[in-house]
Amino acid sequence: MKKSSQKTTNSKSQFQLRTILETSRLLIESRDTDLILDNLLDITMGKMLVPRGAVLLYEPDQRAYKVTRVKGKATVQEGDQITLPWKSNQYQQNVIDPAAYDIPHPELFIGKNRGLFFNLKTSSHHLGYLYLGRKGDDGVLNDQEIEFVESLSIISAAAISNSMMFSEMRAVNRRLDRRVNELNTLFDLSKDFSMTVNPKEIAGTFKFALLAHLLVRKFFLLFLINDESPKIMSSSGLTRMPTAKERRDIFDLPKEILRVQPHQKKSIPFLNENDIAILVALQLQGDKIAVVGVSEKANHQPLSESNFNFLQSLGNLAVLSIQKTILLKEHIEKERLEKELVIAQNIQKGLYPGTIPKIPTLSVAAKNIPSQHVGGDYYDIVYSPDGNPIIAIADVTGKGFSAALLMANLQSMLHVLLPVPISLSEATGRINNLIFQNTPSDKFITFFWAKYFHQENRLRYINAGHNPPLLIRNGSDTAEQLDEGGMILGVMSTSTPYKETDVTLRTGDILVCYTDGVTECFDKNGVEYGEERLTETIMSVRDESPEEILDEIVDQVNRFSNNRLSDDLTLIVIKVT
């Protein structure tokens, strides 16, 4: 009896040894935690005829145990997190029997819980427990069986630790691979971006790269150009485009990275309709210049920190490149415009008299300084076919191109009418009608012109709303104003004829014709230069030549306004010899 029992025990322990040997070989080669856990539970429960078993793995971050495997009528489920009535480092023993330690048994199974916790530990780490309940016939495990499970637990713990390390390393490797892949994309795209000048192409490339790396289906790039309202530059998968108000509201939302909140989805329906989950602000030199919106990942994984990093890196790169192309385009456009302006300037210069024709008994100086490349001031000194010279000065409302076009128009009318044998008054009436018919209602021309009958020293003039030229008689301390004539040009068609007025000029008299750029300039306190200062300036240099008088006026005006002329400036200075 004793012998046979001995034999049975021997063969049983031999069998258990073989199991341990085979299992350990299997486990050492395995890098699969699931397989190891399944094996551990299956073998121990199967061999011991235990109907209730579980594997609890310790999660240090949570200070709790995760029910990783459970078999039998359990009150817990796989994946549950539970705490045990003792601390993870309280017992170093290989086997913990709560009943023996007089601690409450954790509730794991329906009915009475009376089992053993086998410590799954390596030499340095506690990994968790293998839990085995009582045998099917309510019997407890004997010492030999406990020893067997202990051995298996020790081997399994080593294998679990190995496989966990292995999967950790694999995860690290994968993260590294992803990072390298993202960097490759950043590198490729930065090369691409620098080779294109098309902002749409950059935005499109940005879109594809983002969709691929973030695994999202919905995307938009909202871009602010020149402080206008933000515009959608690129998008994917949207059910509709956001309205102007939505675009502004969306643009204002994120400071950096924003998870869109329910109330924000409610106030901006576009975000809701398109499942936009994340808004990211992209900045250029500290200013928010673009906002990217994306939906959640299509595979329902959460967007990670590294996803956001990638989005921001690539986004900033794209925004910088887009901005660069816009600036480049503006620069090219500006240069082109500059060239055209120079051409226009040269054309306009050709419309002014190149050299002032000599006029008997008169000495004349004239000058035009446009505030921009081209301007709306006009002056002319030209002989009419009857041998008497015409002196004209005009100012078109406004500045720049529009004014210059009208000025050119006036110049050509004047030159066309010059050989026509009609009076100054009739010519003025015709010019007025043409201007009135051909120009927008907000464009006018102030106009002064005169014919000088040099044999009689008689000046016949018409002033159509222009700043009255100043006539300073030889020896006089006051200036006469040549202000007779009629209506400013272009306001209405000619009904009453323009009035001609004759003045006789005498030696030493000075006549100064000017545009409002001369008198309507301001000093730093906003004080106007004005007609009085102009008269004083002329008086102060009245004995000088017309050129010197003109230069002095320009000097004074420049000094007064601190070289900030805001309007075109034209002067004709005539002295009777």
């Binding site: 994968r174 691979d177 992803r178 892949n181 490759n184 994309t185 490729d188 795209l189 691409d192 080779m195 499109g204 490339t205 879109k207 594809f208 790269a209 983002l210 969709l211 691929a212 790396h213 695994l215 999202v216 289906r217 994917s236 998968g237 990942k297 299509a298 595979n299 994984q301």
Partner: protein, 115 residues
């Protein structure tokens, strides 16, 4: 800029097989997208993209598939991939594409998966 992609198109009943070769990058992706858009316009939404002859794959080039997949699936279609080399699969895997798309070893398997 390199746009060196070759696309060979073959219809197999309701499935369109696109055998692509050369380089799939951000630029050639537009060309492939255009091929797919042309088919979508004809009301054809079932695609097998065979990567056998792809020598180089930039991950940004795969963004195009994300841009169109929703529309295609809503029309009861799909994009399935086949014949990915180890290198190509690695890129797919890093981007988690296998969680969203069916990938097959052989073109015929992908085609029959539509039936």
């Amino acid at each position: 800029m390199t746009k060196t992609i070759q696309i060979e198109h073959q219809e197999n009943r309701d499935v369109d097989i696109l055998r692509i070769g050369g380089e799939l990058n951000i630029h050639s992706a537009y060309i492939l997208e255009q091929s797919i858009l042309n088919l979508m316009e004809k009301g054809r939404y079932k695609y097998v993209v065979n990567f056998e002859n792809i020598e180089k794959l930039a991950s940004a080039g795969l963004g195009m598939f994300m841009a169109r997949i929703e529309e295609i699936r809503e029309a009861n279609g799909d994009i399935k991939f086949s014949n990915l080399s180890k290198k190509v699969y690695h890129v797919f895997d890093l981007l988690d594409f296998p969680t969203l798309y069916d990938i097959f070893d052989e073109e015929e398997e992908a085609v029959s998966a539509f039936r």
